[in-house]
Amino acid sequence: MMKVLVTVKEVAEVEEDFVLDGTRIDDRFLEYDLNEWDDYAIETAVQLAEAGDDVEVVSATIGPERCEETIRMALAKGVDRGIRVWDDTLASVDLLDVNAKTEIFNAIIAEEEPDLILTGVQAHDDSFGATGVSVADAAGYEWAAVVNALDLDADAGVAHVRRELEGGVEELTDVELPAVLTIQTGINEPRYASLRGIRMAQRKEIAQQTLDDLGLDEGAVESQITLTDMYEPESESDVELFEGDADAAAASLASVLREKGVGAQ
């Protein structure tokens, strides 16, 4: 029996035109959806479950009731059950920082004792990009970040992972389980939830837990970070029109690209 925990987040997506309300974006201009990286993490976990004999996939999220729709879509794709952490204390927190998330997920890990934890590399709304690695540190798990290929040898307790580094360098690493892997987009092609999966997901469990249930108090989610301002940067754009026939235009384009540093050495 192997247990895989996937942390997922419902993120806010901002419409093209929006209005700021202090340090927040007005709710009217936000739509909520599953964090893109998490979709790849879910697919990774579900593929492990399909390939293995006895693999349980559990998803964990922090968020209000609204998130259940998103979590249920993960269940429809093959996750076995979900855990959603929320209560009045969490609802009153302005900014849930990495430490707070780490405390919460760490409590869940203590309870669930997963062999493998998959997170997205980052969440595209607040983009801390740190939760996965921070959770590994707190839980005492091995970790690998920005994983774009995974070959799991569950019997040997090793995850062979590939990480794409800057400049086209790829690193192959063996990580001993239990481990946290932060999953990069492109590692696979996330599936659509099948109509049958959507039906089955209605009967799967999403357990709601409070901080109290997890043995935490409000001190655990007090933030050391304060959001001080939010503004739209002035944007500059630069347009250059290429004229002449295709050869001349292509040559001009090539020289501009070279100037900007695009192309082989």
Partner: protein, 384 residues
């Protein structure tokens, strides 16, 4: 009274809409121009389980109700009616096998539809038998333990891509009654004497395959008979309410797709120094388009609900939904082109295609005029 959808129905709509946005919309114009059947999209649709979801669970499907099918069809048609029809029609005719087929027929013909390994079709219309279905002249004669079939079928959806068809044939020409004497027989496309010719040049739904089928001494085993000999029409009629509701859902989808595109364009397009959505003439168009679409959706959902829970009393409602939603589809697509102006008249935008696609919903599965006849007949107490 509860007008809300269940969580499952909401999730179904959202995920199908996501599939349609990624897999259908980007390729729709190309398949329309080429009149090509979208094999690659069909493969992905099969993976997601979109094909023949009305097939019962024990044969690999989901056993979708009419309402759930309507929600699915609406989302597909809102993305593209041509490819939407390809997906929605993969199990055309399966309802006869589900309701009247033998266990062996169900096990043979239903699972491959869901898995995307086979496509089927229903063959009723003939060159000389359109609205007048009782004038079907394709003959099936019994010869030993086989049926020998001769005749032509016209406008058959999936005609050249289908693997098997439920074909309405006259089996007992001597009976006096107009409606008995016909039977439904399964004909596979690899039988000797079977041929299909693709019909090209359609105004709309051009990704969908339409063909003429020719049966020239086609022999099939007697066990290919679906249900009871001589009762073919009565068997088909049981599904008119369901299939008309499905076409109503197509109309709602077309109207929704056209209205959404008009709303988007109206906010982007600027004239006289401002967005054309600031002009009241455009605002009123959009208001009417969305109102009509919502009204058609309400009627369609009610009809679907009726088919699912009050099947005895839904005939008039199904015809109302089919007639109204198909009219709304053509009207809203027309206005969507108008909002686009000249841009809507070329195929850079989707609305021209929706305008062409919409018309078929007033023609197939019983024309607008036939639907009005049915509504009037029910009103005047002259039920079938």
């Amino acid at each position: 009274m509860d007008f809300g959808l269940t969580d499952e129905q909401i999730a179904l709509r959202e995920e199908v809409s996501r599939f349609a946005a990624n897999e259908i919309k980007p390729v729709a114009a190309e398949y329309d121009r080429n009149e090509a059947y979208p094999d690659a999209v069909m493969e992905k649709a099969a993976e997601m389980g979109l094909l023949a979801p009305h097939v019962p669970i024990e044969y690999g499907g989901i056993g979708y109700s009419t309402l759930e099918t309507a929600i699915l069809v609406e989302e597909l048609f809102a993305a593209d009616p041509g490819i939407g029809l390809c997906i929605a029609s993969a199990g055309f005719g399966a309802e006869a096998i589900i309701a009247f087929g033998t266990e062996e027929q169900k096990e043979t013909y239903l699972p491959p539809l869901v898995e995307g390994e086979a496509v089927m079709g229903a063959a009723i219309s003939e060159p000389h038998a359109g609205s007048d279905v009782s004038s079907v002249s394709t003959r099936a004669e019994k010869d030993g333990d086989e049926w020998v079939i001769n005749g032509n079928k016209m406008w058959i959806t999936n005609g050249t891509v289908g693997d098997y068809f439920v074909v309405v044939c006259e089996t007992d020409p001597d009976v006096d009654d107009r409606y008995t004497g016909f039977s439904q027989i399964i004909i596979e496309n690899d039988r000797d004497g079977f041929s299909a010719e693709k019909i090209t040049g359609k105004l709309g739904i051009r990704a969908s395959d339409t063909a003429e089928l020719v049966f020239d001494d086609v022999r099939v085993p007697e066990e290919n008979l679906v249900g009871t000999r001589g009762m073919g029409f009565l068997q088909i009629m049981q599904f008119f309410d369901e299939t008309r509701t499905a076409v109503a859902a197509q109309g709602v989808g077309i109207a929704k797709g056209a209205a959404e595109r008009a709303l988007e364009y109206a906010q982007e397009r600027e004239q006289f120094g401002r967005s054309i959505s600031e002009f009241q003439a455009i605002q009123h168009k959009l208001a009417e388009m969305y109102t009509q679409t919502e009204a058609a959706r309400g009627l369609t959902y009610k009809s679907a609900w009726g088919v699912d829970v009050d099947a005895e009393n839904v005939t008039m409602l199904a015809s109302m939904a089919k007639e109204y939603a198909s009219r709304v589809a053509t009207d809203v697509a027309d206005e969507a082109v108008q909002v686009h102006g000249g841009a809507g008249y070329v195929d850079d935008f989707d609305v021209g295609r929706f305008y062409r696609d919409a018309k078929i919903t007033q023609i197939y599965e019983g024309t607008t005029e036939i639907q009005k006849n049915i509504i009037a007949r029910e009103l005047l107490g002259k039920g079938f």
